[in-house]
Symmetry: C2
Subunit: 476 residues, 2 copies
Amino acid sequence: MKKAALARGTRDFGPEQLAKRQYIINTIKEVYELYGFQPLETPAIENLSTLTGKYGDEGDQLLFKILNSGDYLKKTDTNMLVQRDFKKIMPVIAEKGLRYDLTVPFARYVVMNRNDLSFPFKRYQIQPVWRADRPQKGRYREFYQCDADVIGSNSLLNEVELIQIIDMVYKKLGLLSNISIKLNNRKILQGIIKVIHTADQSINKSDKIGLEKVFDADDKFTVITVAIDKLDKIGLKGVNAELANRGISEESINQLATFLNFEGNVQETLAFLKEKLADSAIGLKGVEEMSTILQYLDTDKMPIKLDISLARGLSYYTGTILEVVPLGTEMKGSINGGGRYDDLTSVFGLKGVSGVGFSFGLDRIYDVMEELDLFKEITTNKTKALFINFDKECQAYTFPLVTNLRKEGINVEIFPEPAANGKKLKRQMNYANKKNIPYVILTGSTEKESGLFSFKTMETGEQETLTIEAITERLK
Amino acid sequence: MKKAALARGTRDFGPEQLAKRQYIINTIKEVYELYGFQPLETPAIENLSTLTGKYGDEGDQLLFKILNSGDYLKKTDTNMLVQRDFKKIMPVIAEKGLRYDLTVPFARYVVMNRNDLSFPFKRYQIQPVWRADRPQKGRYREFYQCDADVIGSNSLLNEVELIQIIDMVYKKLGLLSNISIKLNNRKILQGIIKVIHTADQSINKSDKIGLEKVFDADDKFTVITVAIDKLDKIGLKGVNAELANRGISEESINQLATFLNFEGNVQETLAFLKEKLADSAIGLKGVEEMSTILQYLDTDKMPIKLDISLARGLSYYTGTILEVVPLGTEMKGSINGGGRYDDLTSVFGLKGVSGVGFSFGLDRIYDVMEELDLFKEITTNKTKALFINFDKECQAYTFPLVTNLRKEGINVEIFPEPAANGKKLKRQMNYANKKNIPYVILTGSTEKESGLFSFKTMETGEQETLTIEAITERLK
């Protein structure tokens, strides 16, 4: 006998949780369709060659790998095995893996179907993804992402619409006052780094490397953005320490701090950046993109924050980046994230196709809504009435009625086992109670003779005597 | 650069396929809820200890196994590795696997939540499962099952309701005239084997083993049921050869053939079995169960066939078994299957809980409906109108109108990029065409001055001049 247990970091979802999750999913879906996005689903299993190298080293480690079928050791050589070099052996014994996000499978799909799709291609995708992460509060190994992407259009109108979608979804979920939509632009970050580097007098005099050089190498840019991204968690001191540790000069760090410390509303921040980035073409381009996007948005009514410290981890972003964070809740970290990427599909051989998209994190939104008690109006059970099953005669008499009600589209149940005694009758009433069935219908011998039924409202205990026609009307 | 490709036996689903799949799923869901079933979802990843040993040896081989994270070789010993004994090494390096069906995770769920559930527990579950099978027509490595089970009730009314569900789902899908619902009962099969054994004069005289003895051992009973189950594929000759090969006496094989050869309607078959199984208590019990179930069903209007040769592969069935096969289509094999099991949860430590359930095979039903062209009325795109984007001025003028229409719940799009010249305008019209958007709205400089819009019906080419209020009404 095996002990019944879930795999670590995974969950079952019963009727109540599913009703709540479905409510969030339906809300997101409805808004996506309002904006002309069409659904896509990709398989859970992908070739590892599709997945590896897209999420950084850490991401590669978090991929779930699927062992090849049959004799998976066939292609390994014995030396490899004896040396126990598990990293080298892995691609030989495991050629498939589980979907890590929805963006890379989407890029694969676009490249495979490039000749049949009409661009701009707007797709949404709501499916689970898997990560071999250490499970903790708000972090699961199997969780849902709800993505929307537009690919094949440079227009900033796409960014505008995505932000409107975020605003509308959270409004519909009743969460709008509990979130902040953080916006930034990778081009602004590039401009800041460029400007600081140019002004840094210390660079040629010391052996410290300048930000410019750091920026030249893609992975070093990631190092900086990753450091900035931690501002919320480790504070400016922590960020500065990390930057110094990576070889950034003190002068550059101090200059960067003036940007990170800036506080102001959207218009003030734009003015500040425009002035400070006057000498960086790319920086000004970022500011201009941001201004254009904001012009189209009703910023007074949206919880938008222009956040210079927002950097996002993934390296493929090239323009607008955004994140949504919950306010005043236990949940730390973002519940939405995304941005503009100019060349995501090139890794699969399709160059020069720009896209922009984001993802709602279903499980985190669920947790936040649960914490804030926002699921009040969701009912789980859909059965409208239970026919009590007194005995075999009663069963034979009522079952055809139950069948007819179902044919009319009314959700009803008959308790499958005849009661035959008092204790068992109580079990049937408990069943109705536990399942939140609002009405119970009793058919005793008196009722059978008269053709009438006792119709009991569970909440009030009120009992009426009705014909089956009257009951049908009541349940409709 | 990696070539973009799907993993073998997996598929992407675009908007049209998803709309059709969703139509089938919604139909099944609706009927399940009509009968009081509640939804459950379990994780894709389960501990292999939960999955192995439940599906027979072949099933165990078809399980997708997930490599442990980090240094998965840590717990292996070098001898094992040098000997390349992949079967022995496997449980050490892979402790998790992908869901193979929905029944075993359901049994695990019931055992884990036994104290919180109210029995009889009626759940439905519609999720993908994974099998490392050789892909071929109608057989995929990732496919959907749509299960319904009632657990914690012996009542045959549950069987009746499940058959009604099958009937109603196929009626709603327009497939009822293209299917046959095959019914049998494991107790009838047991009775047949018992009766044949008792009558077999040859058993004590030869070294052939009798069916009784075969039946005593569970795995031998499976051997017989598996042989019988192949009747459709290999014919009676094939079945007989297989039985002889397994050591069944000629006399018993001939006796069995009289059962397998029997042809008759439901009532005739019941009468035949009642007479033939007069000396087997268990056989008669099976016939009685079948009669009771059929009494509650409108058998004249349902494509029900009592099929003595139906045996089902899985060993856990103990009573009613059923299968639905499509008629007059290319699809071979069943599109539905299930039955009564008296002790499924005991493997996880919960004994004496009887259940009954079945599964709709979504992907096969889809293939059959596609072949029969039954998806006529499904529309995929939901965008009602496209606003043409002539230039930046037009964009700035129309975007707020688009936003307002969306706030009213009307699915509209604006092409994200200004046309600025004729060729690009054609691209926008093509976009509307390809996406089946029924109306296109044009806002030139004349329109802007007059406050009126050109409203074009794509199908007829008819063009009207309307106010935005009139357009709103038309699109609602």
